[in-house]
Symmetry: none
Subunit: 529 residues, 2 copies
């Protein structure tokens, strides 16, 4: 660790470049909520959008004026340099930036001679003039102007002197910071370091920044190399959202800079909110959580191997590069074939169960676990089923109901030319009272699920509040073809929490049945507590 303590200016473009991602779309309300969270977390500047490029972005800036919860001083409007045949005063694109009415403007200009000639179709000198002119004009109107040098590294490789000239034009016109953009994401970190050291020199220690893309899985490394080379401003997005392979991921850059090099990014207290910020963005964006994401992923500190687990219980430094709590994450010990006594006690404690004193029960559970895992059970993704397993062994699980029988029929008839029909019937007993009912569904499992709930809601109305949010099927020993063992994982939710259960059987319907049952029992148990 260098402990340099140098302050890094964090510039977030989740709301602009992040939304260029194929699967990311935010509403205006989403954007306001995100901006608020980002500022709270300690981001220094937030690129809100490109006013004038589409109606929604302008809507955001309008909403911002009315919002009391977002500090406008931290928001930037993004756009391009003025067009060739216009002045700043009569270019609507430039004027739209001013209409956004925020104290920061970020404009990008062309660095790469190829682009100047082929995209803008103007002379190299004219492009320099445009950059100078636009920055100077905007700087006379707002507090801060950031200049994004698009394609800086490719431009530098093609024509180094010209690329540097564009930066100097922006600097001389009064830009508060010039940002080297690795737009196509194709540069390697050693090359980035080399070019950055030249830039630093030529800029004469003027503040500069980095904006990187992940097309070679190098966005984080390139950003860090630039900072090591003197950049004080870093652009990126939360979770690395962005076009193609994404932008540089601030959720990795920030802890790397702060914990590995000692730079000053956010307060240590805010750093412990990193995981929650990352989860929040996934939630708002309705994106699947990438469990393997560095620092913030659910698996980032999860240990499966038995060798690792026993070592980690002795000293967590042995297989963890940082204490997960520093970024608001937690250590997870996975229950797998290799699990032993210490894993079990650790898990039971998490559920609030004291199993440590009951050594017979421990032995019983361990034996059961071994047998169940041999049959294909896996409790890694099904903690609720695991809790039920322990409670059953400890005799602390009430019998809520008894399913006496079920039957599922699935039928297809070509002459009727309709989708196959599924129907399920069940008989359930609760305290001696029997309910016999039926339901249809678009598949056998769906029909069975509906029939069981229908029967049970009669006794337990609170089951209405429970929904299935995920259903996964895994075939285990697949060398037997359709005879293979099936593992089903079910994720359920009510207004208060989310839980997962597992079922294993040769028969997919039976496996689903067991996972569904555990899920319902867990819900009833939870409500009782």
């Amino acid at each position: 660790m260098d402990s340099s303590n140098k302050k890094i200016f964090l510039y977030d473009t989740t709301l602009r470049d992040g939304t260029q991602s194929e699967d990311v779309n935010f509403t205006v309300i989403d954007k306001l909520r995100i901006a608020e969270r980002l500022i709270e977390f300690g981001i220094d500047c937030i690129e809100g959008g490109w006013p004038g490029s589409n109606p929604r972005d302008m809507e955001f800036f309008n909403a911002l004026k009315k919002s009391k919860s977002v500090c406008i001083d931290k928001i930037s409007a993004f756009g391009s340099t003025r067009r060739a045949k216009k002045t700043c005063e009569n270019d609507e694109i430039i004027q739209a930036l001013l209409d956004a009415d925020v104290p920061n403007i970020t404009i990008f200009g062309k660095t790469w001679d190829l682009h100047v000639r082929e995209a803008l179709k103007i002379s190299l000198d004219e492009n320099i003039e445009i950059i100078y002119d636009t920055v100077r004009y905007l700087k006379s109107k707002v507090d801060r102007v950031y200049y994004d040098a698009e394609h800086f590294f490719d431009g530098y490789n093609a024509n180094p002197e010209y690329a540097l000239k564009t930066l100097l034009a922006a600097r001389d016109a009064g830009a508060d910071c010039v940002i080297l953009c690795e737009t196509n994401g194709g540069a390697m970190p050693d090359k980035v370091a080399e070019i950055v050291s030249i830039v630093k020199n030529r800029l004469n220690d003027y503040p500069f920044g980095i904006h990187a893309h992940n097309d070679c899985e190098m966005a984080v490394a390139n950003s860090i190399m630039a900072v090591k080379g003197g950049a004080s401003h870093v652009q990126g997005t939360i979770n690395g959202y962005g076009e193609r392979c994404g932008n540089a991921n601030l959720c990795s850059i920030i802890p790397n800079l702060q914990l590995k090099y000692g730079y000053d990014c956010v307060t240590s207290d805010n750093l412990t909110k990193l995981k929650s910020l990352s989860d929040f963005l996934d939630e708002i964006g309705n994106l699947k959580h990438n469990t393997h994401r560095p620092y913030v992923g659910k698996s980032a500190f999860a240990h499966k191997g038995g060798v690792h687990v026993s070592a980690i219980l002795k000293n967590s430094k042995t297989y963890e590069h940082i204490a997960p709590e520093l970024v608001g994450n937690t250590q997870r010990v996975l229950l797998s074939d290799l699990s032993g006594k210490s894993n079990l006690i650790y898990k039971a404690k998490e559920f609030g169960l004291d199993i440590e004193s009951q050594s017979d029960t421990i032995q019983k559970v361990l034996l059961q676990l071994k047998e169940l895992e041999n049959r294909g059970f896996q409790y890694e993704g099904a903690e609720a089923s695991f809790e039920l397993l322990i409670r059953r062994a400890m005799n602390t699980l009430p019998e809520f109901f008894d399913i006496l029988s079920y039957r599922v029929i699935d039928e297809k008839n070509k002459s009727l030319s309709v989708a196959p029909m599924a129907e399920a019937t069940v008989r359930v007993a609760v305290n001696g009272e029997v309910e016999h009912t039926a339901a249809g569904g678009n598949g056998p499992v769906n029909a069975l699920d509906k029939a069981i709930r229908k029967a049970l809601v009669y006794f337990y109305p609170q089951l209405k509040d429970m929904v299935l949010v995920d259903y996964k099927v895994r075939i285990l020993s697949s060398h037997n073809g359709t005879q293979a063992t099936t593992r089903v994982l079910v994720v359920s939710q009510d207004s208060f929490s989310t839980w997962s259960t597992v079922g294993v059987a040769e028969n997919i319907i039976d496996a689903s049945y067991h996972a569904l049952l555990d899920s319902i029992i867990y819900k009833l148990l939870k409500d009782k507590k």
Copy 2:
């Protein structure tokens, strides 16, 4: 580009370290299929598993001996150095490595003094002896021994001289390569480069390798920095599968080394199969494709922004760091009508079909494909279904049979206390003759499969020679719980070949039905040819 042309030894650990990932599980048949593909792609050595650590890994090595399709010379068995109080001859763990009966063995040993003292609880000197002794013993028994120096970088930071001594012990004992493992994934690329340069010197240019983890989003950068510093052996996994945040991703490392620096990894022709290899692993592992993955993701060359799109149409270099075709990917702006068409013609040729001259049929297939893919079909792992699709469009597929109707009943009755029973009935017509039959099975799909075959064997006795060897279920839109769309992949085999088919439907039985039918039709077609 350096154009150094230096050959890099590619070492894949997808089958061993990759399976430490929370969500990755392969069957023995999966592992054999993967090994075959990896060798075909040009991987130099494949770590097959840790024999002795669990029964499944040993099963793989046993299956390998019988397999004709996997070249055993490229497979390595993984394990640890001998235990402190044993000799190599009487340590079952070491003997299990030899039982695996492959010409390569990779063993890991301790580098970090903390681990030697706290985990092994032996003296630092004794650990050196163990390393030397184990490598020398194994080298006398098999062709090649690779030595993984676990926690090398952390160990070096704690005690540089000791860390180097462990490497020298392995080298002096005859290891073919010593590998610097960045086990905890916490090192930064500048630090890796610095340490690697010292190691290179001290090893006196002896071959060394790198094995990195992605806990700081630096695994690819660290691997590249090590190669730039002289490493000639790179370990990683396909798609970066692995524990916690994953291992170094070979799908990024290989094109980076080859296309950005000019190293020699695989032939250019094999490099164009990178995307298909990545997709294959996701399919086999039943994992969701990460669309933003560098080089191989579906979005890696997808352009959304209007500015980008118009520029890219003029010159693709403007927003693409490489030509996507180099890694078998495609640009996704022009809605790949062109590349779609050429892919289709290419595939049809592989099946021995001349579709090139029939431009109407090409249009028809492309439209169908688009619609089917929207519905969730994926032909990457189901070439037989793809061939049938083309043949149907070309009207060259005979109608072998017609399934008039089916019904599946699945029943469980607690008072009978037996496993749920499944029974299927089908009515099949062949040339006007109707066969109506029934069969039981241990699940609804198995029962249906048996009933259909039973009915058809009457007309086509050759179906007796066909077996289902793999059956995979994938839930696609999981936000609807048990109502989700289901994709089923079936792998079948006869005495001559193996083929895969796919079926998609809301109803899992219906999806399985379509995949089973395609599989039978393909068998009948194949026998006719």
